[in-house]
């Protein structure tokens, strides 16, 4: 596909456990998901870290600021982040 990603821009669901990223935007695909995620602090500029996958592979656990959020890969796909290079 011809998505023009920024250099490191990936969706949150593509991070591996331990990897960090900074939220760039949340796609408009699902308005409620977007609203909820943003209200829970997943806003532009915040650093997130993928902690782990659930035992069955889905959902995923993400560190957002000072707390842990779990969400399905499906929803995580809407969150676009730039991978932090450490």
């Amino acid at each position: 596909m011809a998505w023009v990603h920024e250099m490191n821009e990936v969706s949150l669901s593509e991070l591996l456990p331990g990897e960090k990223g900074t939220v760039e935007r949340i796609s408009h695909a699902a308005a409620t998901v977007r609203q909820r995620l943003m209200e829970m602090g997943v806003v532009r500029g915040i650093q997130v870290q993928l902690i782990r996958f659930a035992p069955l592979g889905d959902p995923i656990e993400v560190r957002v600021g000072g707390y842990r959020l779990s969400l399905r890969r499906n929803e995580a796909q809407a969150v676009l982040v730039t991978k932090d290079v450490t």
Partner: protein
């Protein structure tokens, strides 16, 4: 006039609001010192917790514990209630006089989002900065004065679980002014602000919306993607057209309406935190993380999960038996005493065989209910409950449900009523409905006495392969049958009647913590009381009615067996016998089925009533119900009434049938109508009938009917 003075003395109301797991309930308990009552909001079944708070000057106020919420943009019925009450949008209540906003200090940013929304409401608000002990241990230092200055409202540090800061909090609430009068400090692009002001004017002038609410409504209107039912209902066509134009203009200017306000608030929050908070150390891996490494591990996570479920079941089946037997023996003793001291007659009969039997049936349930709520309380309070949803979500999603449905379904193992009530946290109405519809298929504790009785009487207590006991295996099969039926029905409903997109799963995983004995005991007490009051009265009433039906009309002379045959109950049992014959049931079971439409566990006490009466003059009064059922023979054919197959069929029937009026009543309230409870009653009865029929036929074929 005296009436007018009564009316004018309105009790002040204070609302407590906060994110889930911020310590709201703990704070509420500390402030009210347990002087509280639990009820329901009119029209919806969101639990309403109200308590009394006494101030230092002796004055009192009513304290309202609102459901936990992350924001004032309602996603679930629970959150909607919290928002509506807070903003005074409900018909029955005005906005509270002041608000305590509980904030988890260890997670300040996200918690301040709600605070910022509440400050905008202009209600007098006090921030209870809770869990500062945890914040400290994580190296988060908060400058309270700076925070207070930045927010513009009083900030009181508290540790609710240790009752620290409660007095200061009370003092501060006492003296809060009528309005917080804080000037909004977060800012949005000028065009957006202009449209917003314009809308506020319209709302105030043409829709009689008062100031702080007008601001909230205006923001909602401008940021929404599709107008909510509330908005369409409340506002005129003209206004909605105006809003549409605003949307077009803002969209044209490239302003992201949905994110602009949220981002503005978070920007402000970041500034506040930069000033008031310092992070002194960075814990790389907290204790919670270490625990989660194991408990959400691919292998160990499931090992632990299933081990835990096994322990819970084992304990309910074994530990709860002892107190249950003690209670049963106690009531037997009491019955004998009454029989000794009272003269023979209808009254004695009524008391011993009607009322006492009913009370005993109710009370023997308590140990199980207490055990189950002990475990559910532990799961919830330690933080494991969210992990259970996390682990199980994938599996639940296979039938189209949400990880959050797992908790209500799990609770339904205790009782479908709290299970159904626990579905309130599920945001999507259709998913919530599906969960409610299948919840009563989970084997609740009310079925347990039936399983226990039937298994003890008819399943030989031998063991399979040396380790698995047949009775335990039978019990497990019943639970698995219920579970399978629930999941299959959920899948079916999601595919057909209640088709909808896969639900959204966005859930906080709270920190693990040591459970608080008080929180759990309080919950157990609340549930036990609710059971005794709501289910207990029904069971007692039914017991007495059933005693009456089984006793009258009286035969002048004749054996007890003829007596019950002639009674109203016997006639009803006979009446439905043709209908239940294909399931292998006779008229006595028929009576049991009729009686237990109200409440499953009544079946056992009905059987008790039937057999007690029957054997009253046969000198076998000391025989237990189990033995009497084993000995019971069909008077015509001489074959035993109950066989292993009948016992299994009966259990299968009870696994699947909706024999519980309280659940019907709860469903009616939760869904606001009779449609769904009737549907539920219908489909479950049909399911139970057909599956039992199948089992009976297959059983006969195999030869298990001998």
């Amino acid at each position: 006039m005296s009436t007018s003075t009564v009316e004018s003395v309105r009790v002040r109301t204070i609302a407590i609001i906060g994110n889930p797991n911020s310590g709201k309930t703990t704070l509420f308990n500390a402030l009210t010192r347990l002087r509280q009552k639990v009820g329901n909001y009119p029209g919806v079944t969101v639990e309403k917790k109200e308590g009394r708070i006494t101030f230092h000057d002796g004055s009192e106020a009513s304290l309202l514990d609102l459901p936990g919420t992350y924001s004032l943009t309602a996603n679930s019925p629970d959150e909607k209630i919290a928002t509506d009450i807070l903003l005074g949008r409900t018909a029955h209540t005005t906005a509270p006089d002041s608000v305590i906003c509980v904030v988890d200090a260890s997670n300040l940013e996200r918690n301040l989002y709600l605070v910022s929304q509440i400050i905008d409401s202009h209600l007098p608000v006090v921030v209870a900065l809770n869990m500062i002990d945890i914040a400290n241990s994580e190296g988060i230092k908060i400058d309270f004065n700076a925070l207070q200055q930045q927010l513009g409202v009083p900030v009181i540090p508290t540790i609710a679980s240790r009752k620290m800061g409660i007095d200061e909090l009370k003092k501060t609430i006492e003296t809060t002014p009528k309005s917080n009068g804080v000037v909004r400090k977060w800012s949005v692009p000028e065009v957006f602000a202009r449209e917003c002001d314009e809308l506020i004017d319209l709302l105030k002038n043409y829709h009689k919306v008062s100031e702080p609410l007008a601001f909230h409504e205006a923001l909602d209107l401008l940021t929404t993607q599709t107008p909510s039912p509330h908005q369409l209902d409340r506002f005129s066509y003209e206004l909605m057209e105006h809003v549409k134009k605003d949307h077009r203009r803002l969209d044209f200017l490239g302003i992201d309406r949905q994110s602009v306000v949220i981002e503005a608030r978070y920007k402000w929050i970041n500034n506040v935190c930069a000033i008031a908070v310092t992070q002194t150390k960075h814990a790389d891996m907290s204790l919670s993380d270490k625990i989660d490494r194991v408990l959400t591990h691919k292998v160990w996570g499931f090992v632990f999960f299933f081990a835990l479920m096994t322990v819970i079941f084992q304990s309910i089946f074994t530990w709860a038996i002892l107190p249950m037997e003690l209670i049963g023996d106690g009531f037997d003793l009491l019955g004998q005493q009454i029989t000794r001291v009272m003269p023979e007659g209808d009254l004695r009969d009524l008391i011993v065989n009607g009322a006492l039997a009913g009370v005993a049936a109710v009370v023997t349930f308590l140990p199980q209910i207490l055990f189950l709520f002990l475990f559910l309380g532990l799961l919830e309070d330690t933080g494991y409950m969210a992990r259970a949803a996390f682990i199980m979500d994938r599996a639940m999603s296979k039938v189209g449900l949400h990880g959050k449905s797992f908790i209500p379904l799990l609770s339904s193992f205790a009782c479908a009523i709290p299970g159904i009530m626990a579905t309130r946290t599920i945001e999507s109405p259709k998913d919530r409905l599906v969960t409610m519809l299948v919840a009563p298929l989970m084997s609740c504790s009310a079925r347990l006495p039936i399983y226990t009785l039937m298994i003890a009487a008819f399943i030989p207590s031998t063991s399979l392969f040396g380790i698995l006991s047949l009775p335990a295996l039978t019990m497990l099969s019943m639970y698995l049958l219920g579970l399978t039926a629930a999941l299959t029905m959920a899948w079916l409903l999601k595919k057909t009647l209640l088709k909808s997109a896969p639900p959204v799963f966005i859930m906080e995983l709270p920190r693990y913590k040591l459970p608080s004995a008080k929180t759990i005991l309080l919950k157990m007490w609340e549930r036990a009381r609710l059971f005794l009051r709501e289910a207990g009265t029904i069971i007692l009433g039914v017991s007495i009615v059933l005693w009456f039906l089984a006793t009258y009309p009286r035969l002048e002379n004749g054996t007890a067996s003829e007596q019950i045959n002639q009674s109203f109950a016997g006639r009803a049992g006979h009446l439905i016998e043709p209908l239940i014959r294909p399931l292998g049931f006779d008229w006595k079971i028929g009576i049991g089925l009729i009686g237990s439409i109200l409440q499953r566990e009544v079946f056992v006490s009905t059987m008790g009533t039937i057999y007690n009466i029957k054997n009253a003059d046969e000198e076998s009064g000391t025989l237990s119900l189990k033995e009497q059922m084993q000995n019971d023979k069909d008077p015509v054919t001489g074959k035993p009434t109950f066989t292993v197959l009948t016992a299994i069929c009966l259990m299968v029937y009870y696994v699947l049938a909706m024999q519980c009026l309280s659940t019907v009543a709860v469903m009616r309230r939760e869904t606001n109508g009779w449609k769904w409870p009737l549907f539920q009653f219908g489909y479950m009865t049909m399911l139970a009938y057909s599956v039992t029929f199948l089992v009976f036929r297959v059983g006969l074929w195999i030869g298990g009917g001998a």
